[in-house]
């Protein structure tokens, strides 16, 4: 087991190097630091002096890959690639455009993100499975048919609509919760109820339709026929046998997104003013803060790879047929 995990973890290294190269190419080769400076400084007529000053202040005034003027390992170390891209591997993200330390910012902002993303994930999973199981239980009836129609209709609605309509209806018209904002500790609950509800609602359509297909696929299998032939009631068949077996694809399917919960939700956080990583990212995108975007890309891929690893491990835990080789 340990050897397997280790090997899988080693497999992550080339992927992270690839991610690093892609971001490096996108951020530094396609456009030179000069272009970036011009964009940041805004005006069309920026003097070369101003550009040089901006580059020096942000550490972009070095050669990209190879520094002729430095000595020894400095030839490699004193470059943009080493300082800006390779340092990400040590989770050293440097400073944002406004001079604040990105790592410190991430550490404080991940808690509000988790406070929103974890409930959305757990409640969403429970709601989707319940709804899907109900539809599968009453399969080929009007309940099932209209359930699927409802799912398709709900999938067709833009997430933005759920947020804008929910905020308007619940927070503005009914005045049940504050429109936006955040507080620490238990006081955060009243700010989180609405975003969590909207997050769950906007995912119900796609999620439950997908789980319904999984349940139906499972119900076509031989062991279900055997269970029925034994004379088990339909409820026992569904809850004891089908649900348990269908949980294997469901669980292994959702494990991959668990680490990504750290990253928060871009839209939800920016609409509800939750100071998490999602709103941090969206602010960085809108102010074109490349250092933050680069860091979030790197963290995102690390978390995805952790998710893949967890998926592999969870397969072996829940499905005894899978053996690690």
């Amino acid at each position: 087991m340990l050897a397997y995990i280790l090997r899988r973890a080693l497999y992550a290294i080339p992927i992270l190097i690839g991610v690093n190269l892609i971001t490096f190419a996108l951020f530094f080769v396609v456009n030179t630091p000069d272009d970036m400076a011009r964009m940041q400084l805004g005006a069309k007529r920026v003097t070369q002096v101003e550009i040089e000053r901006w580059k020096a202040a942000h550490g972009y005034d070095k050669p990209l890959l190879w520094n002729e003027r430095a000595s020894g390992t400095g030839k490699l170390r004193d470059t943009v690639f080493f300082q800006k891209s390779l340092r990400l591997f040590a989770f050293d993200f440097g400073a944002a455009e406004d001079g604040r330390n990105i790592s410190a910012e991430i550490r404080t902002r991940m808690w509000p993100s988790l406070a929103l993303a974890v409930p959305v994930f757990l409640v969403g999973l429970a709601v989707n499975i319940t709804f899907a199981l109900t539809m599968a239980f009453f399969r080929a009836t009007y309940l099932d048919f209209w359930g699927v129609v409802l799912c398709v209709a709900m999938m067709s609605i833009s997430t933005l609509f759920y947020i804008i309509a929910g905020q308007f209806l619940v927070a503005k018209l009914l005045d049940l919760v504050p429109i936006s904002g955040y507080n620490t500790g238990l006081l955060a609950i009243k700010f989180l109820i609405l975003p969590v509800a909207i997050g769950v609602l906007s995912g119900v359509g796609e999620g439950s339709r997908w789980y319904r297909t999984l349940f139906l696929e499972e119900m076509g299998k031989d062991y279900v026929r055997t269970a029925r032939a034994k004379g088990l009631s339909e409820a026992v068949v569904m809850f004891r046998h089908v649900l348990k077996n269908a949980m294997i694809p469901i669980l292994t399917g959702v494990v991959v997104v668990i680490p990504r919960l750290f990253m928060g939700s871009l839209l939800m956080e920016s609409f509800f003013g939750i100071p998490g990583l999602g709103s941090y990212t969206i602010d960085a995108i809108q102010s074109q803060d490349f250092a933050v975007v680069r860091s979030m890309v790197f963290i995102g891929s690390v978390l995805y790879i952790v998710g893949l690893l967890l998926t592999d491990i969870s397969y072996t835990l829940v499905d005894p047929r899978v053996r690690l080789e």
Binding site: P14, I15, G18, V19, I22, T23, L26, F27, V30, N31, D35, M36, R38, M39, R139, A140, V152, A153, M155, S156, I157, S158, T159, L160, F161, I164, Q167, F168, K172, I179, L216, E217, M219, G220, V224, R225, R260, M263, L266, L267, T281, I282, I285, Q286, Q288, F290, V293, R294, M296, V297, G300, S301, Y304, I305, L308
Partner: protein, 462 residues
């Protein structure tokens, strides 16, 4: 009126795609084994309804994809003819009334007065703060009290016109039913009727009113919504031009050759997949923005710059979304490569390229078609979110995302300005819902597993 055609990149590609689709369906029609899944698709009532709706959207979008520049009125010196720098489309001509009738700011649907108080000088010289009459909306009414009867009259006239247009289509029903009796033509005809019943009165009213109101800068919301359709269609369809070759080629190649090739291709798509897709798109788009701003000489007009940005957004979306198609195809190709007919081809020393194109690609075509149709709606929804974040289409392009972004603070106003958001979301919902319903029907028609599974299910349920 003399004009000079302007061929934007997206126009050319969109028409190319239309031509390719028509050619493909033509080929299908001649071969029963290719036509069979499509017949299964159109047998479904939902598919016919959504196809009719999509045809309506498509007509609007394609009419908006024929661009030209009109000649300017000849000047006194008038030797050489000059053309207006404004790029227009056929749709703009058809909706000239809507495009030109700009108010100064918000006005409610079918209103005769502005939504905001303004200082107005009365004929007797006094300055009064009041809701001024609109420049176009209901301007022909001498007495505002007659608005109700005028609206009703125009709506009825529009309805009558729609009925006149609709009834002749009924004559087509009989020959169609005779040729393909299993297709529910009635459903398509009824949908067409419903569409015309809405479009007729709306168009009739739009000649004298702002049917869906006006937005902050006084533009007609109905016009903006109709113009947004093209952007959505371009994003939803042109992206496939990038996604399809990448996904199909790499996926099938990986599954067929296995070994090193497979490892390399898997590495590429795992790496791309591992980057959060929104951030990857953001990174691409930010870089594209810097490039476009750094090279203004490449894009002479705003329309061309906006068009290149739209096209590049399609490319970016394609580059980030081919991975799931490639993974699906790789899995299928792995299975197919072991089958006897592929082994037989090997034994006959058929070259690899020929095996890939003749034996593997046609046998994974159903997966490609299903995923293309399925992706359409998610791409349309993605454009809205990306434009909302500010990394989508060019701000000068009219799109649902830009409309929603511009209107996002309107719900917080008091009294609420709801019509911009409602129109954008309404038009978007119908488009995406139709696409989703069609995708369902296409999956049922093409996926062999669904048919087997469905039969098994009926067996157990009975």
């Amino acid at each position: 009126m003399p004009f000079v055609p302007v061929i934007l990149w997206t126009d050319a590609l969109l028409w190319l795609l239309v031509a390719a689709t028509v050619a493909y369906l033509w080929v299908c029609a001649g071969r029963p084994h290719l036509a069979a899944p499509w017949l299964r698709v159109v047998k479904s009532r939902a598919a016919m309804v959504s196809l009719t709706l999509l045809a309506g959207y498509g007509t609007i979008g394609l009419a908006d994809s024929l661009h030209f520049r009109l000649a300017l009125p000849a000047t006194a010196a008038g030797g050489t003819s000059a053309y207006s720098p404004q790029v227009l489309s056929v749709l703009d001509l058809a909706l000239a009334q809507l495009r030109r009738s700009e108010e100064t700011t918000y006005s409610a649907p079918l209103a005769t007065r502005l939504f905001a108080l303004e200082e107005v000088r009365r004929p007797d010289g006094r300055l009064v703060r009041e809701y001024p009459r609109l420049r176009y909306g209901g301007a022909r009414l001498a007495n505002e009290g007659e608005r109700g009867s005028d609206v009703a009259k125009r709506a009825l006239a529009g309805l009558g016109g729609a009925a006149l247009l609709w009834l002749p289509f009924g004559a087509l029903l009989w020959p169609l039913r005779r040729r393909a009796p299993q297709v529910p033509w009635g459903a398509a005809y009824a949908t067409l009727g419903a569409m015309l019943a809405i479009a007729g009165p709306v168009l009739a009213l739009s000649l004298a009113y702002h049917v869906l109101g006006t937005d902050k800068v006084g533009q007609d919301v109905l016009y903006l919504s109709l113009k947004s359709i093209r952007t959505s269609l371009v994003i939803g369809t042109l992206t496939t031009l990038v996604m399809l070759p990448l996904g199909a080629m790499l996926g099938v190649t990986a599954g067929y050759f296995k070994g090193r090739v497979d490892d390399a291709i898997q590495y590429v798509y795992t790496t791309l997949n591992s980057i959060p897709s929104v951030l990857l798109i953001v990174a691409f788009v930010l870089m594209m923005q810097v490039y476009i701003e750094g090279h203004p000489q490449l894009f002479p007009t705003t329309a061309q710059r906006a068009d290149v940005r739209l096209l590049l957004l399609c490319v970016v979306l394609g580059v980030t979304s081919w991975t799931s198609l490639a993974r699906l195809l790789r899995g299928e190709a792995l299975k197919l490569a072991e089958l006897e007919y592929v082994q037989a081809a090997h034994a006959f020393a058929v070259p690899h390229l020929r095996i890939l194109t003749r034996h593997l690609l046609p046998n994974v075509a159903h997966i490609i078609i299903i995923s293309l149709v399925l992706d359409f709606s998610s791409l349309v929804l993605a454009e809205v979110v990306l434009s909302y974040i500010g990394v989508g289409v060019d701000p000068s392009t009219i799109s649902f995302g830009i409309m929603i972004n511009a209107a996002r603070l309107e719900m917080a106003r008091d009294p609420v300005v709801w019509w911009s958001l409602a129109s954008a979301f309404g038009f978007l919902l119908v488009l995406v819902l139709a696409a989703n319903l069609l995708a369902d029907a296409v999956r049922d028609g093409f996926d062999p597993r669904v048919r087997v599974g469905g039969a098994a299910l009926q067996g157990t349920a009975g």
